[in-house]
């Protein structure tokens, strides 16, 4: 029990942020029309590409002779970039379609 309580106490800021983000995530897409489900999914998919930041950090902090780390990091960054770039481009293409409709 105690350790958990302390965890709450120490990380309260983070916990707050997490909870608030959860609320926001739900509120923000609450009224999405089913037509937009796919683009929205794809957009969200692009956003979690933010994980690339982590990849950049590990790769940037890796000793320049630590090849495993470098290679893995390199891979991670490539994959992350794929997620980000691919995600946003695909979403944009889908929405282009909807755009057309507006007249």
């Amino acid at each position: 029990m105690d350790p958990i309580l302390n965890f709450f106490y120490e990380h309260q800021q983070i916990i707050y942020m997490v909870i608030l983000m959860i609320f926001l995530g739900i509120e923000v897409i609450g009224r999405v029309p089913s037509v937009l489900h796919t683009p929205l999914m794809s957009g969200a998919n692009a956003i979690h590409g933010v994980v690339i930041i982590g990849a950049l950090i590990v790769m940037g902090e890796a000793a320049s002779d630590n090849y495993i780390a470098l290679i893995l990091g390199f891979l991670a960054v490539v994959l992350g970039t794929l997620n980000v770039v691919g995600g946003f481009v695909v979403t944009d293409r889908m929405l282009e379609m909807f755009k057309k409709k507006r007249h």
Binding site: A44, V50, V51, S64, L70, V85
Partner: protein, 465 residues
């Protein structure tokens, strides 16, 4: 100094993510929203590269590698996603989602190797969670991708779900063991956990039918979000944390919304109840009942002299890539003074909004698309309903037959119209893998053949009349 600028950059990024997602859920603003989020992302990425300072105040190194990776990923990403066909979008989303998962997974692997001595529990949790979730969503997404692109059939075996649960339990155990094991064998347990997580991802997806894929992809999508958030916790990086959680939450809600639209409970999507049979489509079909066929010319005739024709597009139209021809037919009929509209079922096709995307691609006017509710109220004064490669979404069993696996799913009540013409290639069932009594009703007549081919001929015929 640079650290504080970076915080502000991350703050901006987080805000753009929230705004972006918000705008993405309104048709008018969706596209702008996507760009805004993208902008924030770019900002965050380059901010990190140039301003990030590790605990001991050093800047990031290996910039050459970094940019190499960025450029490589950027180019590949752009090319693939520009090339892909609109109808292959779900595969794409799934693929990119997998990349994200893999990224989170790799980060955890590297971080684990950087651990020296005793590690703070919070950090370990972040690492191992990132690994497990990342791996599951990576493996799962790849399987989903293979299935959607038809490279992989559904596989389900007895007690699969019990197996999965046990597997999951073992994974958790592995994670715990790793933490408590002495440094010597910790890696062993860790990599075992890793391998099992991958395995779990695969087994988790194997039984799920293609029809349920979009839902599952959305689920994996929110998982990846959580994995990203773990990274955020690990590096105390607000952009990752907020972005990750945001997607995690929104993704979960979206998953539920999708299920609603398909009238499935998330649980039995995951247990893959009917999606499962999908692979076995062929099996069920061709059984009893009488159906009548209609000739092209007759079909053309009926439509040309109708006052109101409603086109019901379905998955078949998508695979046949017949949207343009369909639009063609619509125009010809309209010139003949026939009122033509499209009845769009929310889950027609293989991804939500599939039909909208498809028809929009063919420049069909927005006003002509009717959502299910409006369409249903319109059918009673409709002369001809032309069903193009749709099946489950017009299957009356969903209304009448409590035994039916799709019972309860809202459908397009086409049987209210005067006549129904169904175009498909055979009597084979659709994704739900079940018979459709509509085809055997007196007012229904079948028009067999590939949607594109049939539509082309119809265009010709109608022009002729």
């Amino acid at each position: 100094m640079s650290a504080s600028i970076l915080t502000i950059i991350y703050l901006i990024a987080s805000v753009t993510f929230i705004l972006g997602l918000k705008m993405l859920s309104h048709p008018e603003t969706a596209r702008k929203g996507n760009l805004i989020a993208a902008g924030g992302m770019g900002l965050a990425i380059f901010g990190t590269i140039f301003l990030y300072e590790s605990a001991d105040g050093r800047r990031l190194g290996n910039l050459a590698w970094m940019f190499g990776a960025l450029v490589a990923g950027g180019i590949i990403g752009t090319v693939i996603s520009r090339r892909v066909k609109m109808t292959a979008m779900p595969e794409m989303v799934s693929l990119f989602n997998g990349m994200g998962g893999a990224c989170a997974m790799l980060i955890s692997l590297i971080e684990f190797n950087r651990i020296e001595g005793q590690i703070h529990l919070g950090h370990y949790i972040a690492i191992v969670l990132g690994l497990i979730i990342g791996s599951i969503s990576f493996a799962g997404s790849i399987v989903a991708y293979l299935k959607l692109s038809g490279k992989q059939k559904d596989i389900s075996f007895k007690g699969q779900h019990i197996f999965n649960m046990i597997l999951f339990a073992v994974i958790i155990a592995g994670a715990v063991l790793t933490y408590n094991a002495d440094p010597a064998d910790a890696p062993l347990y860790f990599y075992a956990t890793f391998g099992l997580a991958i395995l779990y991802g695969v087994f988790f997806l194997l039984p799920i039918g293609g029809a349920d894929m979009p839902v599952v992809i959305s689920l994996l999508n929110s998982l990846t979000g959580v994995a990203a958030a773990c990274g955020g916790f690990l590096y105390d990086n607000k952009a990752m944390l907020t972005g990750g959680i945001l997607v995690g939450a929104a993704g979960t809600l979206l998953t539920v919304l999708m299920c609603k639209a398909m009238n499935r409970s998330l649980l039995n999507v995951v247990i893959g109840s009917f999606g499962g049979n999908a692979g076995a489509s062929g099996a069920v079909s061709d059984s009893g009942g009488h159906y009548k066929e209609v000739s092209l010319s007759d079909a053309a005739m009926v439509m040309s002299y109708a006052n109101k024709v409603v086109i019901v597009p379905g998955y078949g139209l998508a695979v046949a890539q017949a949207q343009h021809t369909c639009h063609e037919l619509e125009k010809i009929l309209t010139e003949k003074g026939v009122e033509v509209t499209y009845a769009i079922h929310p889950v027609a096709g293989r991804m939500p909004g599939h039909m909208n995307v498809l028809l929009a691609e063919a420049d069909v006017a927005y006003e002509k698309l009717e959502e299910m509710e409006d369409a249903n109220s319109g059918f009673k004064n409709t002369d001809v309903v032309l069903i193009l490669g749709a099946n489950d979404v017009v299957n009356p069993a969903a209304k009448n037959d409590p035994a039916s696996p799709i019972f309860g799913m809202p459908i397009l009540e086409v049987e209210l119209a005067k006549t129904v013409i169904v175009n498909k290639r055979s009597m084979k069932p659709g994704y739900a893998g079940i018979e459709n009594e509509l085809f055997f009703q007196p007012k229904t007549s079948m028009l067999f053949g590939d949607a594109k081919k049939v539509l082309q001929d119809l265009c010709a015929e109608v022009k002729a009349t």
